[in-house]
Symmetry: C2
Subunit: 285 residues, 2 copies
């Protein structure tokens, strides 16, 4: 079965695949777009990665991920900002190597509280400052910095940006090169999610739409509890309707952190999530 | 060391204690108030429970818990509403048996999505309807129905009320006998938490303040990951300042779901959490 033309396989769904293997799995399932992660790019170097992408004929829907800029002023924070600037350049190179319609989108995860700190307000202010400092680099590279709100259960240890509304406020504060990711797994519970998706659309800030499902019970490692769309509790119709209504027309990534999914053959996974997308998300596009 | 006069031991912190044992542990730590759970009351019957409370000289800070009214119209929903009306009467009886300053507060947890349903919006509407139907019973019994927002990670399976703002909106919609619980564990991550605590105060809706800490990594069963105040990532100063500023003057419960805490002697636990409260929360009262 042919994949939906807007479907993109986020490489995290086949976490243990090299970039070449992830590309092969994507193409084996007739998927036209891929969301690339930085680690497999680093494994082979940016030049080799861009050649693989160019040869593949695939679009690039995003590069995941940079961010992690909650540290206070000092060497750690400077290193994080340097790393983000490199990631911006890498995003531009990969998007340029991708097929027409590739998105120069860099996904940013804020980072958690610094070790031993309970100053959530301060950490969030440092995220705002970092986005303001990075926005001109994104703008001049033609890269959209896509702030991803992570589920509030990650507020302490992974991302102090916890709601879509907060992500939008940060994007607006930073400038036009900053947008947001709408990831169903992270935002589905939010009583304001439909209003915030609409607001993000009005402001032209939806840079990425990612779909994955919420399973219960949560697994022992909550980071790995994400499900294939249709297997959990999320209503993809209402969320997809809202994203469409908000004017988003780009690729839609399926990004699944799940140890059982990761243990399976890459081609099978690519095929399965593509079919799930066709069944559960595509009808509302 | 004497317990802080506003400190209350929520009985869930000594989950396996009978009501008599929980009262004994509370008094052994010189704590003046107790948050009672319905199951240990049911174990001995309401009359015996009210006598124990009256004899103890303790205040009652709340009865936990009723709610669970997300089912669609039918026998299950009717049974839930009946159960809530009984819980309202029990709350009034226990508060009347408690020492002066007891709060007739019934904590309500909304319940999760009905089996097989993905209609989160509909489930939330049914919570609103149920609160509207129950408010007059609360008002006539002199009982405040305290809606507790649970952390968004429980939205699918335990409580579709996920933010303090949503709980306040529900309370306002239902009428003056409905208030909200501010539980640090459930709301600490919320970018709007300070504004919402202030709003709840302005509207006179803060019916309970509960303190417990957020630990990482989350344990295998996320329901049991709550920590003694001071052991985790929550800044109790800013949250307690906000609750004080909002005008709340009632008892403050410590409610800890944690298998390690539950495994320890009740008197030790009561003493330890009281001391943690004195150290971490009391300085801001």
């Amino acid at each position: 079965m042919s994949a939906h033309p807007r479907f993109s396989l986020n490489q995290a769904t086949v976490k243990f695949a090299s970039l070449a293997e992830a590309i092969a799995a994507t193409k084996s399932a007739d998927i036209q777009s891929i969301g690339v992660w930085r680690e497999p790019v680093a494994d082979i170097g940016l030049d080799a990665a861009t050649r693989l992408i160019a040869d593949s004929g695939l679009r690039v829907s995003s590069l995941c991920r940079a961010g992690f800029f909650t540290a206070p002023d000092g060497p750690e924070r400077n290193a994080a900002l340097d790393d983000n600037r490199r990631a911006i350049d890498d995003t531009a190179a990969l998007a340029a190597a991708g097929a027409d319609g590739s998105a120069a989108v860099l996904v940013l995860v804020a980072g958690g509280l610094p070790d031993g700190s309970r100053d959530l307000v301060g950490a969030r202010e440092r995220v705002r400052d970092a986005l303001g400092a990075l926005e001109p680099f994104g703008a001049s590279a033609g890269v959209t910095l896509a702030v991803e709100a992570l589920h509030p259960m990650f507020a302490a240890d992974r991302a102090v940006v916890s709601t879509l509304g907060q992500a939008i406020d940060l994007a607006v504060s930073a400038g036009p090169a900053v947008g947001v990711v709408v990831d169903t797994y992270h935002v589905w519970w939010d009583p304001n999610v439909f209003a915030e998706i609409a607001r993000a659309g009005r402001l032209g800030r939806i840079a990425s739409y990612q779909v994955c499902d919420w399973l219960t019970p949560l697994p022992a490692d909550v980071l790995l509890g994400r499900g294939v769309p249709g297997d959990g509790h999320i209503d993809f119709r209402s969320l997809t309707d809202a994203v469409v209504e908000a004017g988003y027309t780009g690729d839609i990534e399926c990004e699944i952190f799940n140890a059982d999914v990761w243990a399976r053959p890459y081609d099978d996974v690519a095929c399965e999530v593509s079919e799930a997308f066709t069944r559960v998300v595509a009808p509302y596009l």
